[in-house]
């Protein structure tokens, strides 16, 4: 029973990772560059919700929207500083630039927001559904629901709308997209903003789930997002989602069997194993 409960915790946490990874996959697909700033964008989203709760009261729905917008705005800054200039340059240049940006945002947040841990308001505290002997919290259901809803919206957006079509075209081939008359620059920027916004929402969910926000929370979150995406296969959105859930489940089952200090060891061990056995990721295509 204990293991089953951990499994549910894992799915819940994994769905937050999945949302982060989906955002990352959108960014990676459209921009085509790896970023280390993503964790800090998650953190910024989380903090925007924290201040939203203080200023306007505890309304989770509007806080999520505020987080999306804040993260998207930060995304524009990151795009201007780290990607736009280096799209054709060797990849590591923009990578280093994002490392610098991540350092900047982290320390900026530490100075402006303070380095101590801040509490988030608890939603549905202590409320849960009992199925047999297993308890599933309202919060967990809400998180899973939000993640599923957002992924559905994103899928419809990418598949059915004109803008989504442009985004997919750009992520497949920038030159060909430009040839058929798509404004690659703007589309890249918009794609990056959407990815960052999803990351911001995931950050809020993470903050609400653990009832705390920290300026340094981004580093590990960003790495988990990155790992989830690579686990599923670079740039594949559904793969990223599955990778995220998988990492969440493995982590929680792992700490249930050993000690909680080893949480991240399991995540990275899974990642290293997958990369060594199947470098293109679980659902990636060969030859990349």
């Amino acid at each position: 029973m204990y293991l089953l409960e951990q499994l549910i915790n894992g799915i819940c946490q994994g769905s937050i990772y999945a949302l982060m990874a989906i955002g990352y996959a959108v960014i990676y697909g459209v921009v085509g560059l790896v970023t280390f700033t993503y964790g800090e964008i998650i953190m910024m989203g989380s903090f925007s919700a924290f201040y939203y709760f203080i200023l306007f009261g505890d309304n989770l729905f509007f806080a999520l929207i505020a987080g999306f917008i804040t993260a998207a705005v930060v995304g524009i800054v990151v795009h201007k500083v780290c990607y736009q200039r280096f799209l054709d340059a060797p990849r590591y240049i923009s990578l280093i630039c994002t490392i610098g940006m991540s350092m900047f945002l982290k320390n900026f947040a530490t100075i402006v927001f303070g380095s101590e841990m801040k509490g988030m308001p608890a939603f549905f505290a202590g409320k849960f559904i009992e199925i047999g002997t297993i308890r599933v919290g309202y919060m967990q259901l809400l998180i899973i629901g939000v993640v599923i809803a957002l992924s559905l919206v994103l899928t419809i957006y990418l598949k059915k709308t004109r803008m989504g079509m442009k985004l997919r075209a750009v992520s497949q081939d920038k030159k060909a997209a430009a040839l058929v008359g798509i404004n690659v620059k703007t589309t890249t920027l918009i794609g990056n903003c959407i990815g960052c916004g999803l990351g911001g929402v995931a950050g809020i969910l993470l903050g609400v789930y653990y009832n705390s926000v920290l300026p340094t929370m981004g580093g590990m979150a960003g790495l988990k997002a990155f790992s989830s995406m690579v686990l599923g296969g670079l740039g594949s959105i559904s793969g990223a989602a599955i990778g995220g859930v998988l990492i969440g489940v493995v982590e929680n089952l792992g700490i249930a069997l050993t000690s909680s200090g080893l949480r991240d060891v399991f995540a990275f061990l899974l990642l290293v194993l997958v990369l060594v056995i199947r470098p293109q990721g679980l659902f990636g295509k060969k030859g990349n």
Binding site: P90, I93, I99, G100, M101, F104, I111, F268, L275, P279
Partner: protein, 337 residues
């Protein structure tokens, strides 16, 4: 500028090297302040670490961003065995050997991987090693770290005072740079560079890529281990938080700022980065902000690094077809207006 310096250096190689060596020897006698001296020792640690990373990233084109993991292995190897009473001098080398074996173990399954996948594996390994060090309390002291690491005997002096420890570090820095220089200008070094430029072409010319990549990783890891081992007796205390991913990024920034794929680059990077962070110490937390801005500005203005030439492939591609610096571009824009 760099071209002129290069020709000047090539003309009077021996004299310049001798003068530099004499200056390095004289340095601790000229500087009395302990704090300045310990800054210099710290710079020299990072020269070793950045050079070792440069061997991996700059010369064979593999992308290792979890270098802190190797440093951790070296540091902990020395600290644990030193507490059991092993002689420190032997341990410096042994730490390097252990680290290079770990480097081989990491390299073997990852030889197939390239670019970002390899980067991710090294990152994961670095973090796994740190978390193991944090949680294996019996061996590593866990969150408490290891205290009271003894310093080696050196001409009858057993002291961690920076003035004495400087000579030990200087010894290893010279050996590190010298061996790197020799290896890079050997068959092995040329094989690494051919892999960096084009691995398929290298393979078709009969370069055993897997073997040379593994050697590359081992060589880099060896010096990272020695560098980590050197750090431990100087600080007399280590814990796992000293080897976080940020530390790995820090070393990487030094290599990039100095200039990848040049022998002198990591030296320049280490000096510049450590000095600037030291100068801005008064700014307290904002110090890291300045560092971050410096990294980004570097990528905008001079992505090939301070010591890299403007003829480098990196420099040309990133700034578009036209050559010239960022400042020149700015000036041009003004003229148009």
């Amino acid at each position: 500028m760099t071209e002129k310096l290069k020709t000047f250096y090539n003309k009077r190689k021996t004299i310049i090297l001798l003068v530099l060596f004499a200056m390095a020897i004289a340095l601790p006698f000229l500087i009395e302040k302990g704090s300045v001296m310990s800054l210099i020792v710290r710079i020299m640690f990072y020269i070793i670490l950045a050079s070792s990373l440069n061997i991996i990233n700059g010369y064979s084109g593999q992308f290792n961003i979890g270098h802190a993991g190797f440093v951790l292995i070296g540091s902990y190897t020395l600290s644990i065995l030193a507490q059991l009473g092993w002689p420190i001098w032997v341990l410096y080398i042994l730490a390097g050997v252990v680290t290079s074996i770990i480097g081989l173990i990491i390299a073997l399954p990852t030889l197939r991987l390239r670019g970002i996948y390899l980067a991710l594996v090294t990152l994961g390994f670095s973090e796994i090693l740190r978390l193991i060090a944090l949680n294996w309390t019996g061996l590593t002291g866990g969150p408490m770290g290891i205290k009271g690491i003894p310093a080696p005997w050196f001409f009858g002096l057993r002291s961690t005072a920076p003035h004495n420890y400087y000579f030990i570090v200087l010894f290893f820095v010279i050996i590190c740079l010298f061996t790197s220089y020799r290896v890079i200008n050997s068959k092995v070094g040329r094989a690494w560079m051919s892999i960096r430029e084009d691995d398929h072409a290298a393979m078709s010319l009969g370069v055993d890529i897997r073997k040379y990549k593994a050697i590359n990783f081992m060589f880099g890891a060896f010096w990272a281990g020695v560098g980590g081992a050197l750090m431990a007796p100087f600080y007399t205390f280590i814990d796992s938080s000293m080897f976080s991913l940020d530390e790995g990024f820090n070393i990487l920034s030094m290599v990039i700022i100095g200039g990848q794929g040049t022998l002198i680059g990591p030296v320049v990077g280490s000096v510049v980065v450590n000095l600037t962070t030291e100068i801005f110490r008064f700014a307290d937390e904002a110090r890291l902000l300045i560092y971050a801005i410096m990294i980004m500005a570097m990528m905008w203005i001079r992505p090939q690094g301070l010591a890299g030439t403007s003829r480098s492939v990196i420099a040309n591609r990133s700034l578009g077809k036209e050559r010239g610096t960022f400042l020149k571009k700015l000036l041009k824009k003004k003229e148009v207006k």
